[in-house]
């Protein structure tokens, strides 16, 4: 029972984790991309169309990553290269994605829609681990994007803390002027970081439409991009913190459905609030270095 909702929490937390890891990287480089929800939605849509056309999920995954990069480049062109206000561009991206995927969806599948049933990502049983008693079959037979997301956590932690390139990303976010004085092309580097994050947000969308939902409907992301934004703050801009936040949110979501299903006679809204309340409470905990990258959200223009 507990293992089951841990597994459900892992599945529900994966799209958030993927998107939040990308956003973490972007924010560490000094850019605040609140267009995450829209980027995910475009990824989910691209994944749905490609997987449906091909009849297998893999092209969907690739299309989602590519679409995510495209949206990120669009965002970056306006917000980084041209120095437009990041919040406004992010908002525009969200609106564009919701309207654009909706219009395209109706173009492709008819005005009243068809309930799309997509080829879903297969479960992969990890050798040895999936044979562990109780936990094994549930936690270690997930789809590939779950493993990818989990693997990215230590990779990103190592990258940011221990590599020269990671240091460069952090310099971009904390002191772009200093980075530039050392000869780093601030805007170009931020664009590269954005593209990587865009691919991750696209994959988050794919995890949603090709696994968690197995379908696409307009607005299918249902606010998960905004949750991922909160998770980055919750995680104190650290990959391990982001992992904890995503899992907390996923498990709390799974838990509240279990509570409702066991027919505890309380207003269901209380249960729906649970993941958000827990996230808010966790934000209040004083813990470690709780500071945002110094240059976060400020557009950078050369002297």
């Amino acid at each position: 029972m507990i293992v089951e909702f841990l597994a459900a929490g892992l599945a529900l937390g994966t799209p958030i984790l993927l998107a939040a890891l990308g956003e973490l990287l972007v924010e560490r480089s000094g850019v605040l991309d609140i267009g995450l929800e829209g980027t995910m939605l475009v990824g989910a849509f691209a994944a749905a169309v490609a997987a449906q056309q091909a009849g297998t999920p893999l092209p969907g995954v690739l299309a989602a990553a590519a679409a995510g990069v495209a949206v990120a480049v669009l965002f970056g062109t306006a917000a980084v290269l041209l120095g437009a206000d990041q919040i406004i561009v992010g908002t525009a991206i969200n609106l564009l994605a919701l309207g654009g995927t909706g219009a395209l969806y109706r173009e492709v599948y008819g005005e009243t829609g068809t309930s799309l049933v997509l080829p879903t990502l297969p479960r992969i049983e990890l050798p040895v681990l999936s044979k562990l008693p109780v936990v094994g079959p549930v936690l270690f037979s997930q789809h590939a994007l779950v493993y990818l997301a989990l693997l990215l956590v230590p990779v990103m932690a190592f990258f940011l803390a221990r590599t020269g390139l990671g240091l460069r990303v952090r310099a971009l976010g904390d002191h772009p002027r200093a980075a530039e004085s050392l000869g780093l092309p601030v805007r170009r580097d931020r664009m590269i970081v954005l593209a990587v994050a865009g691919a991750l947000a696209g994959l988050a969308g794919a995890a949603l439409s090709l696994a968690s939902a197995g379908s696409f409907v307009e607005g299918v992301t249902a606010g998960r991009g905004f949750v991922a934004l909160a998770v980055v703050v919750f995680g104190r801009w650290s990959p391990w913190g982001v992992l904890a936040g995503s899992l907390l949110f996923g498990v709390a979501s799974a838990l509240q459905f279990q509570f409702q299903a066991t027919a505890i006679r309380l207003p269901y809204q209380l249960f729906l609030m649970l993941p958000y309340v827990l996230t808010l409470l966790a934000l209040l905990l004083p813990r470690g270095l709780a500071r945002a990258p110094l240059a976060l959200g400020a557009s950078y223009e050369r002297d």
Binding site: E4, F5, A8, A11, L12, P15, T77, A78, L82, G83, A84, D85, I88, V89, T91, A92, I93, N94, L95, L96, L98, G99, G100, G102, A103, Y105, R106, Y109, G110, E111, T112, G113, T114, S115, L116, V117, L208, S212, A213, G214, S215, V217, E218, G219, V220, A222, G223, S253, A254, F257, Q258, Q260, A261, T262, A263, Y268, Q269, L272, S299, E301
Partner: protein, 329 residues
Amino acid sequence: MSRAALRVAAFAASLAFGFAAACTQGGGAAKKDDAFRVALLTPGPVSDGGWNASAYEGLQRIAKELGAETSNVQTTSPAEFEQTFRDYARQGYDLVIGHGFEYQDAAMKVGAQYPDTAFLVSSGGVSAKNVASLEFELDEATYLAGLVAASMSKTGKAGCVGGIQLPVIKTTFDGFEAGARSVRPDFKVSTVYVGSFEDVAGAKAATDALIAQGADFVLHNADAAGIGVFQAAKAGGALAFGTNKDQAPVAPDTVLASAVIDMPKAFVQVAREVKEKTFAGRVVKEGFATGCVDFTWNPALLSRVPADLRAKVDDARAKIASGALKVRP
């Protein structure tokens, strides 16, 4: 921020709004004096293959059968309801339909200000001189679904998955439970609300939870998110009931039957009254008796239903239609 950057941001924003506007059709056509014009406001995308899609089909039927000029728009917040109603009324539309319970207050308020426009709230309980509501007694059909579930269930448990707890959603679940208890007084029905009508992943997780609790039949009333219910039911070996439209084609091996609303028929009836100037504000009850609500089996799965149960369902349906059996307490 440079001027060029501002221009790009403005372009991106206008593109976004342009797309949003592109999703709403028609509108701008100038009023011809004799033209019969009908507008539709939906709370969600008309591509949901369910509640909103059925309204769009109704609007198209009105256009075809009554030669109406039509327009539709998706509204997302209560603030937009009144504004959009008022816009259409001011443009001289003959009939404006608010597709759902949530439009009641706005219809009453704007209706009082624009007496020459007829307002229709699909699924509501309010009326005024120029305001009518359709009240779909879909619980008549979900009562039969409950009866079937309780008769066929091996576990003695079933689940309901709703989008948001609106009264019209809850009554369908109450009907389901009443139908189930009519054959098995100890039958257990648990209800989970997802909190959204678009969150397919949430609906799937909610259904997983219900199945983990032992439910082997699931009824959904979650519009577009309902597809997640069918997927989870399929994976968990449970059977499901569709709502609003015949959803057997969506999941042919999982949907045993659907509680169906014939929205186009109901819309055309009211629109014809408006066109022929016989319209009077009232609450129109639509159920089995009027032919606008139906309980439709999935032919592909019908062989799983014992013949005596089918006969029992037909019998209950006839009694509900004649008024001999009351679904609501």
